[in-house]
């Protein structure tokens, strides 16, 4: 699940971890909170990134860009943006 991005710009560990965490938290379909089930990780990182870019009205490239990273750094609600 390598992170698709322009190699030169987003090498720093922190950003890569932030993006992975963000996509896992908000763009991974969450099982019902009352059943401690396993998380499905069916979609690739690029597919989740595309979904996130689409939701926020960004350019849907599946690649990390500064605008996408900026949105990911904003304080927000912890509920996933995709259906439970």
């Amino acid at each position: 699940n390598g992170l698709p991005a322009q190699p030169e710009k987003y090498n720093n560990e922190e950003d890569v971890k932030l993006v992975q965490d963000y996509l896992n938290k908000f763009y991974t379909v969450e099982p019902d909170p009352n059943q401690l089930g396993w998380r499905k990780n069916a979609e690739s990182t690029a597919e989740k990134l595309q979904k996130m870019q689409q939701f926020f009205g960004l350019k849907v490239t599946g690649k990390l860009d500064s605008e996408t990273l900026e949105i990911m750094k904003k304080p927000r609600c912890g509920v996933p943006d995709v259906g439970l």
């Binding site: 908000f26 401690l36 939701f55 904003k74 304080p75 927000r76 609600c77």
Partner: protein
């Protein structure tokens, strides 16, 4: 908007504040939570009752990182601020707030009222909206807590699950609450055009008049604009196809049927001095793009192009509108003429000839 159905199968819900944040006084937390629930009960049949022990439908708690048996974790300061679960048993309906954030009643840190109102949207069955003006948009955005935080998108979402607030007046017999359309003594608070319609406002009601086919409809103002207060005092249609409503020193801007974000604003932002506390009546002359604001026995002229009040104002109304000597309740323009309302009478004024043409009953437009 998005919903996580089926929502609660009842309209009377309980909530319990399990613990408090040290960032705010307990009273302020109680108030913020109560106000945040009221946001949703204002536009639905939902009723929230607080309990202090036992299991409530909506359990409200502050925690950090891994908290209790919650399957979601918090992440320290910033990042995730709070989360909630859709209606259901167990975690269903619960709302958790990250104690590692700085919770406040104002614009510093994170405003607990605003975040709680968002989380309670989830607790009632809403998921995130990608409409950036919506309260249910995932990212935190501070808005003045004195403004009603729901956008039309939020209201459509919650009412798609629970319906709208039962308009009590509809349950009562129409006569005592609805004004009598053909009462010969009727007066109006404000009148404005709205594209090809003329809208007459009084108290909580409005009449929609189509002058071309003499149709008249009586409605509640809240049917169209739930966040507008009753008792609007002045209104007009500007050249940008927007309607501006005035009450006291505040005004709202409606585009289509949506209240624009960031309103109400203070009328001082239009250029009025602080001494001006309210607007009696207002009309935009479609032929000149100038808007006249009537206050007491004077009026101010506002240029819609430069978006500023013209110099040399206020002027005495009677000097420039001969025959309009009393305070103006309401005014609108139709086919080039101005119609000035005072009590149960209106005067038709020709701005070119600068004279009153005739006087009629205020409700002559209703074809009584």
């Amino acid at each position: 908007y998005g919903v996580t159905l089926p929502g609660w199968k009842k309209t009377k819900l309980t909530y319990r504040i399990v613990n408090y944040t040290p960032d705010m006084s307990k009273e302020d937390v109680d108030k913020a939570i109560q106000k945040a629930l009221k946001v949703w009960s204002t536009v639905t049949p939902l009723i929230f009752t607080r309990i202090h022990v036992g299991i409530a439908d909506i359990m409200i708690a502050f925690g950090t990182k891994a908290h209790g048996h919650c399957p979601r974790y918090f992440d320290g300061p910033l990042g995730v601020l709070a989360h909630a679960f859709p209606p259901g048993n167990g975690f269903g309906g619960d709302a958790h707030f990250d104690e590692d954030e700085d919770w406040t009643t104002g614009s510093a840190g994170f405003n607990l009222f605003l975040v709680a109102a968002h989380e309670f949207g989830h607790a009632l069955g809403l998921s995130h909206s990608n409409d950036q003006r919506a309260l249910m948009f995932p990212n935190y955005a501070y808005v003045n807590p004195s403004e009603f935080p729901l956008s039309p998108d939020d209201i459509s979402a919650i009412q798609s699950i629970y319906g709208s607030r039962p308009n009590a007046p509809d349950k009562r017999p129409a006569t005592p609450t609805s004004p009598k359309t053909c009462d010969s003594q009727i007066s109006f608070d404000a009148v404005t055009t709205l594209r090809r319609e003329v809208i007459f406002l009084k108290g909580r009601h409005l009449w929609r008049v189509y002058p071309d086919n003499s149709e008249v409809e009586l409605e509640l103002i809240s049917t169209f604009w739930p966040t507008l207060p009753p008792g609007i005092q002045a209104a007009y249609e500007n050249p940008k196809d927007q309607i501006l409503f005035f009450k006291g020193n505040k005004f709202w801007v409606i585009s289509g049927y949506q209240v624009l974000l960031g309103y109400p604003k203070n009328i001082s932002t239009l250029g009025f001095p602080k001494g001006v506390k309210k607007i009696d009546a207002v009309v935009c002359n479609k032929n000149t793009g100038k808007t006249d604001f009537f206050i007491g026995d004077k009026y101010w002229r506002y240029d819609e192009n430069s978006q500023s009040i013209e110099t040399g104002y206020p002027r005495r109304t009677a000097d420039d509108f001969p025959g309009i000597s009393q305070r103006v309740d309401a005014v609108f323009q139709h086919k080039g003429f101005f119609y000035f309302f005072h009590g149960s009478k209106q005067r038709e004024f020709n701005p070119t000839a600068r004279k009153v043409i005739r006087e009629m009953k205020s409700n002559s437009w209703f074809n009584c």
